[in-house]
Symmetry: C2
Subunit: 85 residues, 2 copies
């Protein structure tokens, strides 16, 4: 996926997941720095209906394979530093 | 949930998700700093079978409501700094 292209496709995503990949509402997970293949698989599962979520099933239905790859690449590309617990 | 109690319950989780909440294999998402309610809902959905994943359905079946709350609190409590893209 192309992270720069993905950034241009976040119109719908950013309301809940942010441009920075940090959740904007308690229903939505953080996506910043998430594993790219996990993000892509999640979007594919939402698109096919294998994974159920009212909002995400609607949103993902609009996405092409390329859109999914690009958006996954964008959120995965956000650098995250974890402070050891 | 009680994050300190959750830390004592990670025996199974940490193989894939780490004590630090960072994925140890490409099948597993990062959990560090994830939204607590999202983590709890995900574990509940894996436990009930509403959300399908071969490994997680097996693991989650063993968890009590308290276990879920504690493990969610632990992973949510890990501090994460996001570097703006």
């Amino acid at each position: 996926g192309d992270a720069r292209a993905g950034r241009q496709k976040l119109t719908t995503c950013q309301g809940c997941h942010g441009l920075d990949g940090l959740s904007k509402n308690p229903e939505a997970p953080n996506l910043a720095g998430q594993v790219e293949s996990y993000l892509a698989r999640s979007l594919e599962a939402y698109r096919s209906g294998d994974r159920k979520n009212e909002s995400m099933n609607i949103v993902a239905k609009e996405l092409s394979d390329e859109d999914i790859a690009d958006v996954a690449a964008y959120y995965a590309s956000i650098q995250v530093d974890v402070l050891p617990p």
